[in-house]
């Protein structure tokens, strides 16, 4: 090989290496280009406002939400010493407790029923998932009417059953429960649909081999269905809890946080503070607490889930 030729080859090699690097760079640019729309919107409408919320929670602001003076932890201190916030916390946690476990058990029962291979089962599946098509506003209006003390079906049913009537949404002892019942109904459709999907993903050969082994249906439910369904259950529990923390619509229509603030769950409290009382600082502090609350719930879920869930 002559010298100039070798030189030329080295040059071509250098050029190619450069081409390779620039290609990788181009690939990065191209990837980011596809992601740009989403990144932009996440930044403007999620990351930035999250930071801003954090920021606002440390300031006193005017009615428009313009920060005026540094407040330090004043808003948080105030919150934890206010009985109103404590009521709100209690309402939120109770609401989660009232809606999540019963809601999932109900949906699971329906899904197990609807997983049977029977003629016309499609009809029942559609009925059970129907509340997924129901908006919170419409559902709340219907339940509001059902809870109407004078003409609603709820009290008529109680009378018919020989029980005394209840002031559903107006009784501080019953309001949160009433809202919870309505909420469970609203969420059943979605939860049912996901759980049914999870059930149908279980390999039918597992059941067949259980049948050949001659175990009871209850045994195969406990030993096959539930373990195999655990990833789905895990997902459903996480989503349901997060949803419960974020409840707003049914409160706004059914009770407006009352009576005596017994249904003043956190998102409704934030809404009232920010857009009715114009106390943006306090609202932001509560929003920060909501964020961390959900973060902790999710992290705990994942920590527990790691150990308990059987992935196929």
């Amino acid at each position: 090989m002559s010298l100039p030729q070798a030189q030329q080859e080295t040059q071509s090699f250098v050029k190619q290496r450069w081409l390779g690097n620039s290609r990788r760079f181009a690939s990065l640019l191209e990837g980011l280009l596809y992601l740009l729309p989403s990144i932009l919107l996440f930044t403007v409408f999620l990351f930035y406002p999250l930071m801003k919320t954090l920021y606002l929670s440390f300031f006193y602001s005017d009615a428009q939400g313009v920060p005026l003076s540094f407040a330090g932890f004043d808003h948080f201190v105030q919150l934890f010493s206010s009985s109103s916030f404590m009521t709100s916390m209690k309402a939120t946690l109770l609401f989660v407790l009232y809606t999540v476990p019963p809601g999932i058990i109900l949906a699971l029962a329906l899904a197990l029923l609807a997983n049977e291979k029977l003629r016309g089962i499609g009809f029942f599946r559609t009925i059970f998932s129907s509340t997924m098509g129901m908006s919170v506003a419409a559902s709340s209006v219907i339940w509001m009417f059902m809870y109407n003390p004078a003409i609603g079906i709820a009290n008529r049913f109680l009378t018919w059953a020989g029980l005394s009537e209840i002031q559903w949404l107006l009784d501080p002892g019953w309001a949160l429960i009433s809202v919870s019942i309505a909420t469970i109904w609203m969420n059943t459709g979605f939860t049912f649909m996901i759980l049914l999907g999870g059930l149908q993903n279980i390999d039918s050969q597992l059941y067949e081999s259980a049948k050949i082994a001659g175990v009871s249906r209850f045994y195969s439910l406990r030993k096959i269905t539930l373990p195999m369904l655990s990833p789905t259950l895990f997902f459903v529990i996480t989503v349901s809890m997060i949803n419960a923390f974020q409840t707003f619509g049914q409160i706004d229509i059914l009770t407006k946080g009352g009576p005596m603030e017994t249904t003043n769950v956190i998102v409704y409290a934030i809404y009232k503070d920010a857009f009715i009382n114009y106390n943006v600082g306090s609202a932001s502090a509560q929003a920060v607490l909501l964020f961390f609350g959900i973060l902790i719930v999710t992290l705990i879920q994942f920590k527990l889930g790691e150990r308990k869930v059987h992935y196929q």
Binding site: A137, A138, M144, F145, I153, M193, T232
Partner: protein, 270 residues
Amino acid sequence: MSWGQKLFTYALLLIAAAIMFFPIIYAFLISFMQGGEVLQGNLWPEEFTLANYINAFEKVPLLTYLFNSLIVSFLIMLGQVIFSSLAAFAFVFIPFKGRNVLFFIFISTMMIPWEATMVPNFQTVQMLGWLNSYTGLTVPFFAMAFGTFLLRQQFKTIPKELYEASQVAGISNFRFFRSVVMPVSKTSLVTLGMYCFLTAWNMYLWPLLVTNDEQVRTVQIGLKQMQSQEISTEWGVVMAGVVMVILPTLLLLFLGQKRLQEGLTKGALK
């Protein structure tokens, strides 16, 4: 299953269905009653009348609200499907440094409760002059981590060889996206679209915050308005409104229940 077991299962199914579907049937029945009957607490209308519907359309601009909801839901659906599929495409087919980190950030946005950001978001939209506009109602929701996640799962099932065959043929990435990935994933896109439409149609808090003008108000807020105006007197009219609101989504759900279920489970579980 033996006959007895079958009968028992059917009985349970029927009872469960009756209870679950009762509130919806109830709303339908009330919407066809005359005012007096409603106040007597009847269950079945003596005579089916459309008076409540006529009334509802006359008293509130229900048609405008329905139209607004349709536009808003459609725009959100379109935006979410397009943005999600673009992002998912990059996450599956374009290898670049930091892709996994970015994906993790995308997924972690699912943990941020939207309500925790609503105050600054309201300020942003106000500053942009987007209050009482379709833009303000829709654009903040275009980016969607769940949709990106769902479509990424779908795109990953596309054989890598299809992409490689395109590379050998010299097809550009965008063309591959447009003429192979999108058509091949039609089913998933439709499922996601349905889900997006449903959630957008049912949105409540954000439209409540950013609209106070009847011209852009969505039907959910219209319903709240009806309910608070008519509450004590005309339940039949309110229920007519309810029926108008739920009819489109119920129909959508009845038509696509199976597909929606399959699509969502796939996304949730893998």
